[in-house]
Symmetry: C2
């Protein structure tokens, strides 16, 4: 079984790269499917699960932290969702099929399967541009400054969430097998190049 | 003209990867040649030039820093060597030939030529192992702990030297186009995979 995990900076085109790679390689593809599975297993709303899992732990607890029942419940539920996320990801691996999974610290959870771990990044300028192009007709809703603020916030949360489960640092080159910069590059072309690299990687594993 | 710059963690096999890539692609290869050229241009000893350029700036100046003539001379000469290094690297690009250059912040100095910038890294365990295998019969001279200490010291110096000339961080994935992890991999196989990736990168530039 071949597993490719893909971590990415927000706006780097990592999700598109992962989807295109899955199409080229004929691998199963997992991204939002994880959220759906957690929501289903826990009987919760998908958007609620997504919001909870993307928040850093400290945001779950109000600043006026006390031993109130509500606060303990909030932390417990967040932890509970993270454990469920880990289970859902581990369950995918038990299917024995080749797959690509985007985000969600899957490189850490699946380490025993020796996945090929990719990190996708890009310059801030390129990421803002990509966010605007992906937004399409909604593009004008946010200023570039607001988009940059969002990108930084989301990436900070991703880095913090990773630090809870990994001993390597999010976005540090050494934490992955291959890091690819998409600045000013066509994701379609990059997908071909990264797939070729991945095939050589697996052939020599 | 195609330029590949290769930055690397000490012991990651980056130099071997660069040499093999140059052989595969038929590119000129620059590494220690830079030191030789600086030494020749400045009428200095190669080993002296190498030592000076690998030291962080603060080590050039004694802790008992004062406005003594000797201290000012030391900083001046270090700066002078760094300027000469930049000149030597820029001169290579004026030859108009495809080349690979290892280390020496060449990715920063040659940015106007749009080089393909690679970073090579590996786990500490793998780097210690590689250092021992490269050392061959001298392998038993240093303990693993001493090798690890050396690796950390050299990498810290590289990071510090880069911070003097670049606004991106050494070893941060986003500072390069491609980062490759050599842990438990055969450099010969990796060289083929990275060359294929590089060729696709240049074809779409």
């Amino acid at each position: 079984m071949k597993i490719i995990t893909l971590s990415r900076q927000f706006g780097s085109g990592g999700r598109e790269l992962g989807k295109r790679m899955a199409d080229i390689l004929g691998f199963d593809y997992y991204d939002r499917e994880i959220i759906s599975a957690i929501a289903k297993n826990k009987g919760l709303d998908e958007s609620y699960v997504e919001k909870q899992l993307e928040r850093p732990l400290w945001q779950t607890v109000p600043l006026t932290y006390g031993h109130s029942f509500a606060n303990i419940m909030a932390v417990t539920q967040k932890t509970d969702l993270m454990i469920e996320e880990k289970k859902v990801i581990e369950n995918i691996a038990t299917l024995g099929r080749d797959f690509i999974i985007v985000g969600r610290c899957a490189d850490v959870y699946l380490s025993e399967y020796n996945p090929f771990n990719i990190f996708v990044c890009a310059d801030m300028r390129a990421r803002i541009k990509r966010c605007i192009s992906y937004e399409g007709e909604n593009a004008n809703k946010l200023s570039e400054k607001a988009i940059e603020h969002n990108i930084k916030k989301i990436d900070k949360n991703r880095a913090e969430l990773r630090s809870l489960v990994a001993d390597t640092k999010w976005s540090d080159a050494c934490a992955y097998h291959l890091c690819v910069n998409t600045t000013d590059r066509n994701i379609k072309d990059l997908a071909v190049a990264v797939c070729d690299f991945a095939e050589k990687w697996f052939a020599k594993s």
